[in-house]
Amino acid sequence: MNTRYKQRLAAILSALALVCAAAFILGQKVHAASGASITGAVKLSGTAPHMKGIDMSKDPYCVKQHENSPVKMENVELGSGGGLANVVLYISEGLTGNEASAVPSEEPTFDQKGCMYIPHVLALDVNQKFKVITSDQTTHNIHPLPAPGSSNIGWNKSQPPGAPPIESSWKAEEPISVKCNIHPWMHGWHVVVKGPYAVTDDNGSYTIKNVPPGSYTVTAWQEEFGTQTQKVTVAAGGAKADFTFKSK
């Protein structure tokens, strides 16, 4: 293999390593040492669809966890100023093979707390390891349902209180719906993408870090409203891309 490639790879890997280290130390407030980043906000225009309340009465334990805060569906989470949470943003075009194939080393956790999934949407890189943990004293079963015919293989495992975390990863790009059969209202997503990604926070803002300069197509995915794309050109100073979903 040629040296240029080697150097590039080394650069990326070191960058990744740095980012991880930084992330490890500074938690969320990290700014990537190298590589620019794409930032922006996702908003919802029009009236937000009505989110039904969730009645957990079949399992008293779950009810106890939410005694003084009624729970609603999380399919559409509106933050202050119409910001749309739980939107996954990723680069769908323009990445060269090796940025795409680089797999982040950190292992996000998918927690079951108060009979809800935290986070509701978990974005993952292809082959990125993740942990499913439970903070509840009731048994859950985790049942990801990849689309029929996808190369991801679905599974259905129970996690009694005190059971160790379930470690796993996904082979192919795909938004995978995750449910708990024991608590039918429990519903979340594993959104598997290639390359750098970000998930909007409660105000709908996001930052995709470590994007080398170049021109890309950024895609925003939302479980109810589907996807939107934008072409962006990333300079050294990074780039901005806002999205607006229209509610029906």
Partner: protein
Amino acid sequence: MAKFFAVTIFAIAILSAIPILRHTWWMAPDISTHGAPIDEQMSETMAEAGISFLASQLILGLFIWKFSNPRSGDKIKSFPGGAKAMVWAAFLLVGTEVLALGVFGAKAWANVYFTAPSPEAMPVQVQAGQFAFYFRYPGPDGSFATIHPDLISEANQNFYGIDADHDPDAKDDIVTAEMAIPVNREIHLLMHSKDVGHSFFVPELRVQQDFVPGLDLSLHFTATKIGRYEIVCTQLCGLGHYNMKAYLSVLSPQDFDDWLKKQAALQ
């Protein structure tokens, strides 16, 4: 050895009978209008079963006590009356016994299942699925929206596959995870399963009925006592079977209306 055996049998027989007689573990008190004959039938059966149980265990023990450890001298005797006596005993005692049970039992059963619900019975729909019950009240218009299986989605809390956009009946349907009914009002329960076999069991209501996928079954009952009871699934339906339950609230008519309003708001 044999005497010891006899004593053991006595002990076991009596010890087993005590919790039954003291009702240490017993059926929950009946809150239904149709339950009385069932309870009656239960205690009659218990009496007859208990008597046959104790009697035969004691006789068994007695004979073992008396006729074991033979000395070489004594000769065997044959039971006076021989086999004929036994056959007659079986036919007369047990025959009449089970026949009586059968007939009264049939009455109690008919009382539950051969009567049609009265026209003003309140319709409530229950759908069983892995692993929860969901209930549906028709709302003011008194008609249920059509179920579209392809629209059923727990992710969107559309448990009944209601087509809210096009179905006029859909707007006021009330779907709940908990069942509430007004006290002393006959309920006409319309049962169906969305996936596999389940069952609807409320001990206090003296009601147990399977959900049979592909069949629409119905029950009717009247609860006579305000309180909060449990509906459990008794038909193995999968890994969450043990956790498939719902609460049944029997409310005063006033409370029931309030409850219904509250639920309507949550839709």
